[in-house]
Symmetry: C2
Subunit: 209 residues, 2 copies
């Protein structure tokens, strides 16, 4: 969905007004029917022989994803990954607003990254008690992640986007979305292994004949 959205936003900038599933499928190198099913999920309806109104589609996808109203977030851990997220411009378009950034490294506290001042993690309770964000983004080292999670949960935050490489243990009413960086690498390696095996098989067959 985010990929469709990104593409559609760009197409709108280019002045286009309608788009067909064929066009999107070509761009994404996937089957036409997959795109159509995805689009149907959003509940939008198009015009036969023409396609979908781009604005319409954008609105429906935004609404489907719940990105119409701003999602207020706090980022915990301003290391390399945290900084990368702060630098990810598209978030603002997706309705994600990182309102505060915390770290425990005294050399970082008080500094600014991309216009965000970094606060001392020790002050998180007082700072977030009132302005409670919707989600917490955890970008701290693996060993601290559970501790940080416990803290934000105790502040009443119920949605966590976790970039640390651990499975957080949380109460039932808390939802964690875990990002496994190595997941993509795993996918690629498996495809790579498979692809190379196929190549080797093909060569062996050729040599035989």
């Amino acid at each position: 969905m985010p990929t469709y959205l990104h593409k559609l936003l760009r197409m709108r900038l280019e002045g286009k007004e309608v788009v067909s599933t064929t066009e999107l499928a070509d761009y994404m190198n996937i089957e036409l029917i997959v795109v159509r099913k995805d689009i149907m999920l959003t509940g939008v309806s198009g015009r036969r022989r023409v396609g979908y109104d781009i604005n319409d589609l954008i609105n429906h996808i935004m609404s489907f994803l719940g990105w119409e109203q701003t999602i207020r977030a706090t980022l915990i851990g301003a290391g390399a990954l945290g900084a990368a997220l702060l630098g990810y411009d598209d978030f603002s378009r997706y309705g994600l607003l990182i309102e505060s950034v915390f770290d425990c490294d005294s050399s970082k506290i008080g500094q600014e990254i991309r216009g965000h001042e970094i606060y001392d993690i020790a002050t998180i309770r007082t700072r977030l008690k009132l302005a409670r964000p919707d989600i917490a983004i955890i970008c701290v080292p693996n060993l601290s992640a559970q501790l940080v999670a416990d803290q934000v949960i105790s502040l009443g935050i119920r949605y966590i986007w976790n970039f640390a490489n651990v499975c957080l243990q949380v109460p039932e009413n808390v939802i964690v979305q875990r990002e496994v960086i190595a997941g993509g690498l795993a996918m690629l390696s498996v495809k790579m292994k498979y692809d190379r095996n196929q190549l080797a098989d093909a060569r062996a067959l050729e040599a035989e004949s």
Copy 2:
């Protein structure tokens, strides 16, 4: 799979020798049966009433993922995200070796990040012609990504891990693994929307009665 692996490596460090699916399922907060099916995919066999030998399982997962032999990579784009990947220690354990780093920003060229010297992207052809890496990791801005992809493909690289927010157009024999940063956010927002709706429904029902 990477998550199992990570957990298992840590358990091995803690001196454990066997593990049961129950244990892994508890840790990951997923169904026992899912874990068992995943493990069966790797072809390992365990001992009833005991569990799996951790070393055995690690080896089988590594082999399943094709992580036994080192994957040699070049990283293109040393921005915040590229730097974050360079700082991701686990890659070395997963057999990923980032051999070279390229950027086009003259203020970065010649600098070092985490022990990796940053080379001028203009020199990529001469540098990679001989020591051809297995994969290219693309961390450049969206607008440059296709250009960079074309370049590495022309160098004979056939596997690409793409962190840019575009769908690369590549020849048939090239495999691209695309990482959609906002994908996790989309998942979380949808879960969040759903969760909040349920909560609201429950409250309405309560108020009624």
